[in-house]
Symmetry: C2
Subunit: 211 residues, 2 copies
């Protein structure tokens, strides 16, 4: 007799989850190129990941390919879209309308990949009311109310480091469950809130080690 | 008798190298806060990494702490600066003077972390000659010559996806050994060239899996 625990869904390692978006991006690019079939070998060569690793990662989620014929690109992309829950569009807010926040708000690369910026906030009275791309910068004092009303659960933080933790606390209290943080500082959030970081210096320092 | 291979420096896993910049950032923040000593426990709590993992990572490079008294923050930060080779300033070029390229060129966060943008290029005649922050946008046709002359080996690519591979090829031919790529596409480069990626959607999709 299986226990409820054993019958539950298998927990996938986060590092495997982290590779799925990279596979998806490559597959979507192949679709744009008019391609229909691919293999773990080809994907691996494009991405610098071994074919065996790709097959192992994908097998955690099901049987997507056929021995000999490889993967249908459209089917596999579709499956990964579902697994990552980006077969829909998630609304997002951006906090901080400086250079980086403005660049994010105007970024064209979210479209068709599951995301849409819908609000841009700043606490600087000089910036509030300004038009940046398709947005009018909103007063950060309205942050919690606007987020709750729109039921948004994804936010990007592009404030100075000194403000980032305070903003994160307010986002969490408004119900946000996923934060992409551009401020170069680690955030403390409750366990049920996910944080990812974008700090170019971290990536640069990782490369200089090898130079 | 040891073989030359065994006597050579121990190869550190890339995933460990990748955590060092995160430790360094936390240590530098503690220094700014006026702190002098820390422990693997405290670092672990700040970063959401286990204390055991931090001790194991650091022990790959040497003995940095004392049982009972913990780590001298300044000494440990200094050691990591040396290991990552950022106890100096690396000049960098940015290719692409759109929203993202401009934001990077103006970004204040490189100072004191080992990097400095020194040139900004674009291939759009409308942009060449424009002043963006402290830079005058240079014509991308001058890319190779300028990079070779200044002996720059680090570049950031912030072009449209369709241009990124071509730009990367030109950077490599000019001697660049490390590329931070903001275009949402995987780059093919020779084995001795390092590439890191900044694509916000990859991070967002990694979080939506859990929502």
């Amino acid at each position: 007799m299986e226990s409820e625990l054993e019958a539950g869904p298998k927990e996938i390692p986060d590092i495997v989850v982290g590779r799925l978006p990279i596979y998806l991006r490559a597959l979507q690019r192949m679709l744009e190129e008019g391609r229909r079939l691919t293999s773990s070998q080809e994907l691996g060569e494009r991405l610098g990941i071994s074919a065996a690793q790709i097959r192992k990662d994908l097998s955690q989620f099901g049987e997507f390919g056929k021995q000999g014929t490889g993967y249908s690109i459209e089917f596999l992309a579709d499956q990964i879209l579902q697994i990552l829950k980006v077969n829909r569009v998630w609304d997002m807010v951006v906090v901080g309308a400086g250079d980086i926040g403005s660049a994010i708000a105007r970024y064209q690369g979210f479209a068709n990949r599951g995301f849409k910026v819908t609000m841009l906030f700043d606490n600087d009275p000089q910036k509030v009311g300004q038009v940046i791309g398709p947005f009018t910068v909103q007063d950060a004092t309205e942050l919690e109310e606007s987020i709750r009303q729109a039921e948004i659960i994804i936010a990007m933080v592009a404030t100075p480091s000194a403000d980032a933790q305070g903003v994160a606390d307010r986002l969490v209290s408004a119900g946000v469950k996923a934060i992409l943080n551009y401020a170069p500082i680690s955030l403390n959030v409750p366990e049920d809130v996910h944080v990812q970081y974008i700090d170019p210096v971290i990536h640069l320092q990782r490369m200089t080690y090898y130079l």
